[in-house]
């Protein structure tokens, strides 16, 4: 491939269009006539053909064999409900839906509180204990907020994603995980001017939530979707917050580490 003297824009457009096969009959005739009259254009045309041939000849690469299965496993489609399923049962007719939801939420909150109380005999400092402000389900407002950062986890034993959102002084980690075995997520927020506010949506008695030395530790298994809320302490306002550090364990082995940026 060699350098060429300046070729006018119209000729260059025709050459490129010719190589891409998009010229009209009139344009192709014009190009043919230009090529017939200029050895330099003919050279350039050959170069362009060779070069685009190289690009077109780039070999397709095989996606990893696990990819399709991994993608399909994580996709949640809308659930199709037939007429029979949509019929409300006795309780559904009798009680408004939000009453039922509130009941479940309170039950889940109680389970979490018990789990945390049991964990309290472990290595918790007084400062950690003071951070246990609330463990019962919070309002849905926590689910809203500006998206600051997100990560995806794709390993053989654990898949999922975590989104970090911010609304006022509340930072929300929306965690979705899927694993066949036991998993554990550790969110380190020590020294960042944040305190643990609440955890929502874990409704499984086997889930264990603990707050130790400025980190939240959630142990669970199977398919999980929960939300961790951290609140900025009043004495940290205006300070830059370092990224949150996350560790993901599956079957007692560290499988993924990540950082979530708190500032956009």
């Amino acid at each position: 491939m060699s350098e060429h003297k300046h070729i006018d824009q119209h000729a260059e457009d025709l050459l490129n269009g010719g190589v891409d096969g998009v010229l009209s009959v009139a344009e192709q005739d014009e190009l043919n006539s230009l090529l017939a009259g200029s050895a330099q254009l003919r050279d350039l045309n050959e170069e362009l053909k060779t070069f685009t041939g190289l690009l077109d000849g780039l070999q397709e690469v095989e996606p990893p064999p696990y990819l399709q299965e991994s993608i399909e496993r994580q996709i949640r489609l809308p659930v199709h409900r037939n007429q029979h399923e949509e019929k409300q049962g006795f309780f559904g007719t009798w009680l408004p839906a939000h009453w039922l939801r509130t009941g479940f939420a309170l039950a889940a909150g109680a389970v979490l509180t018990v789990s945390i109380y049991e964990m309290g005999s472990g290595p918790m400092t007084a400062e950690d204990a003071s951070n246990l402000v609330g463990t019962v389900i919070k309002s849905q407002a926590a689910e809203q907020g500006e998206l600051l950062d997100s990560i995806h986890i794709f390993t053989n034993t654990l898949t999922g994603r975590v989104e970090l959102r911010k609304k006022d002084d509340l930072f929300t980690l929306d965690v979705q995980l899927n694993s066949d075995g036991p998993t554990q997520v550790v969110v380190n927020f020590a020294g960042r001017g944040l305190e643990f506010e609440s955890i929502t949506r874990t409704q499984d008695q086997k889930d264990i939530v603990s707050i130790v030395d400025g980190s939240v530790n959630v142990a669970s298994s199977g398919e999980k979707h929960y939300t961790l809320n951290l609140r900025r302490t009043t004495n940290s306002e205006g300070r830059e917050i370092a990224p949150l550090e996350l560790e993901f364990f599956a079957n007692n082995a560290l499988v993924h580490e990540a950082k979530l940026s708190v500032s956009q």
């Binding site: 190289l54 000849g57 690469v61 996606p63 993608i71 489609l77 809308p78 199709h80």
Partner: protein
């Protein structure tokens, strides 16, 4: 790219049909992976990006408007997500750009693919806008009009970016070749 078939499969997905979802993933995972791979220059990042793309596609499948081509929508998400990954990488590793040129891929194990590796290296030196157009044209096989739909820029802009990108790549390969002649082993 089968517009009517895709539209039917998308409708089935909206009704919760996982077989339809599987067919769409099967049909598009390879082209999406290849486009992401050529933009990012890394197999692992391309695999992660491909997964994110499909999660986003099906997360928003209810919002998909069948007036538009499904493949254009998927490619648009794929390109945006690949560019997001690049931005994220630059933010986390400011020196990553300098690693783009000595691209390492599986092709390098074979002499016959050395040229392909050099072409990929030249591709990685282009700006994001130029690289995206080259990938859509030469890897994904899209027409000017399809690229214009995917990137939502006029066809004129597509042509101008493509021609400039080819020029830059040619120059880059030419320099690369001259360096090889000068200092490299025979």
């Amino acid at each position: 790219m089968y517009k009517d078939r895709d539209a039917a499969l998308v409708n089935d997905c909206k009704r919760g049909d996982r077989r339809a979802m599987s067919q769409l993933v099967s049909q598009y995972q390879r082209p999406v992976f290849n486009a992401a791979y050529r933009i990012l220059g890394n197999m692992d990042d391309a695999a992660d990006t491909t997964q994110i793309v499909f999660l986003k596609v099906f997360e928003h499948i209810a919002d998909y408007d069948s007036k538009f081509k499904f493949f254009s929508w998927v490619y648009r998400i794929a390109i945006n997500e690949s560019l997001n990954q690049i931005k994220k990488r630059r933010k986390q590793e400011p020196l990553a750009d300098s690693q783009a040129s000595p691209w390492r891929g599986p092709d390098e194990e074979f002499d016959a693919a050395r040229l392909s590796s050099r072409v990929q290296g030249a591709l990685m030196l282009l700006s994001d806008d130029y690289r995206t157009v080259v990938v859509l044209k030469h890897i994904s096989g899209c027409s000017y009009q399809q690229i214009s739909e995917i990137l939502q820029v006029p066809e004129k802009t597509v042509k101008s970016r493509l021609y400039s990108a080819r020029q830059l790549m040619k120059k880059s390969l030419l320099n690369d070749g001259n360096q090889d002649k000068g200092g490299g082993p025979p």
